[in-house]
Symmetry: C2
Subunit: 134 residues, 2 copies
DNA sequence: GTGTTTGCAAAGTGTTTGCAATTTA
DNA sequence: TAAATTGCAAACACTTTGCAAACAC
């Protein structure tokens, strides 16, 4: 018998397909890319009838990030954002309302990055284009 | 009688030169550029014999940022960093120890930024090159 | 059955705030 | 003296954690 895609995705990531994780994966990956904070995901889950505690949402976001099926985006010093798009891309950050918008990785480019200090390797290059409504 | 530079700098920024602000400006701008968090500045102040409460350090960092003599750097979702270099430049962020290193603005360049959504204007483009010790 | 995961409530961390006392102008 | 600033302690927002009950395999 064939597992559902959500279950397979979790198995592939080495995570047990618990009810909460399966439902969160379904919510997150059913329809386009998604940006979220722990609070917003918890709210969206509730609205979608998915019962999961906030603590589990936090744990899950980190497990998914560690497993590589989510990526963390640092744009705000007071909240953690996560993105279902783990591929090469960057972001607009709308400072007024805390919203993220993807910028495809093949549109934007960073040049002239100096060699990192000896003994250090580049992990990732993040670009945040901060915009505001006017 | 001529005011000291720290006092002048505060006056120019429209801030009253209180003892705390004057001493913090002296500490911050006496010798090259500096990166800090509220905690680290509070500790450095203490070590330099500057008496100032943590609450005042927080207030001061924000006032200085608002006044344009400091700039906030968002690299970590759990702490606020500030930089005495308010000019055009970017950063290396050493993920292992939470350290920042400046990248001169004339060395690095970002191209291909899409037009922001209608009704939005670009405020700033931030590049963070995340590096780690190996 | 055994090890993992969940959820609650408590604890933690970094930050902000109310307000009386102090300082600046 | 009037208005701004400070510092304390309490309050906050977000996040993590300890642990017993529930669950996956």
């Amino acid at each position: 018998m064939m597992d559902e895609p959500a279950v397979e995705r979790l198995r592939a990531a080495g995570l047990r397909p618990t009810r909460q994780r399966v439902q969160l994966v379904e919510l997150l990956f059913s329809d386009g890319h998604r940006h979220m904070t722990a609070e917003s995901l918890h709210a969206d889950a509730g609205a979608a009838g998915v019962q999961v505690s906030l603590a589990t949402v936090y744990n899950t976001l980190h497990q998914f990030t560690e497993a590589g099926i989510l990526r963390e985006v640092v744009v705000d010093a007071s909240r953690s954002y996560f993105d279902t798009n783990t591929g090469d891309h960057q972001h607009f950050f709308v400072e007024n309302d805390g919203t993220l918008i993807d910028i495809p990785g093949d549109e934007i480019a960073v040049s002239g990055i100096p060699t990192p200090p000896k003994g250090h390797a580049v992990d990732r290059v993040d670009v945040v284009v901060r915009i505001r409504k006017n």
